[in-house]
């Protein structure tokens, strides 16, 4: 299972970088719990539990900090 799409943190724009951060955050669940059922229980949490969504947003924010630094903040 590929953890980092295209095996690179290089992104042309902040939008691409943000999408990579979302993918990294969501991918990790499958690396931690490979069985197929995990996608279902996480989707369900996102549909019904606001605190799960906020917690996932925090993971995305942490990943985005790394991706942005890797791309020198697209300066």
């Amino acid at each position: 299972m590929e953890l980092v799409p295209n095996n690179s943190l290089k992104c042309a724009t902040p939008e691409e970088g943000r999408q990579l951060a979302v993918n990294l955050a969501l991918q990790t669940a499958f690396a931690i719990q490979p069985d197929g059922q995990v996608e279902h229980i996480i989707r369900d949490a996102y549909a019904n539990n606001p605190d799960s969504i906020i917690a996932a947003s925090h993971v995305v924010a942490t990943e985005f900090a790394t991706v942005a630094a890797a791309n020198n903040y697209w300066r």
Copy 2:
């Protein structure tokens, strides 16, 4: 769905940077859970659950750290 408004982290002032951080934090919920219902359950959590608001504030603080670094802290 646009994740990063204007596809840029460049902000003229800390106030603009803070607003971007709030938008990034709140936008992520829709990237994670695209169905329209998510806005409703999150608004409800913010109206009634202080811990949800504090958790969301932590996401904003993490996003702001990235935006501030991207703008060299407006030095």
Copy 3:
């Protein structure tokens, strides 16, 4: 609603920087949930729920990391 007092991260001393971090952390609640009732439910949480206070302290610590870096740690 002003998110960053004086639209600046510049603080003369660590004490001023710490106060700014506390203000930034607490202000965000009103940016996320503008209705007046939020102050009341957050005050109530801080009066009775130690975990809410600890969680809020973590937001302040994250904001202070940004403010301290912005002021080059007052070296």
Copy 4:
């Protein structure tokens, strides 16, 4: 109420820096909730709730990251 002891992040050693991080973390509770009762409910949480202690340890770790960077890691 003084938030940053001696209004400085300068510490001679990592041990002093660690103590400052603990103080900053614990002090914030009183800045957020000034009424005297907060010390009591937080002490009680630390005596009985391991997750409160772990959460507080995370605040200390975040503060220590800032204090260590401020002192250039005592290199």
Copy 5:
């Protein structure tokens, strides 16, 4: 018990770096609670509790930030 595989943070690619971050995050549980039973209760949590998976993803994101910085973001 070895905490850091090959006692090095050096990784040739982001994919390797991500795998190291996952290993570091999962290994810590055994350093904190050495008794064999911990693997079982954590696996169970990952199978049934989405918030545990999201919290573990946040640990991976924090470890990845360190590994990526250690490898200069594979620039």
Copy 6:
């Protein structure tokens, strides 16, 4: 009570650095709650509550980020 073993963040290898991060994370509990009983309630949490272990792993990850930066990532 000594908070930072040998009053130094200097570690020869990543493995030593990781062990220091684990010690720093676990030590803080005793700095926050000095009474002897805290070790018992934390051990119990680690034996039975996966979310406590994940939360503690997050503290270790945050401490390791500081220790790794202090040692210039053992480059």
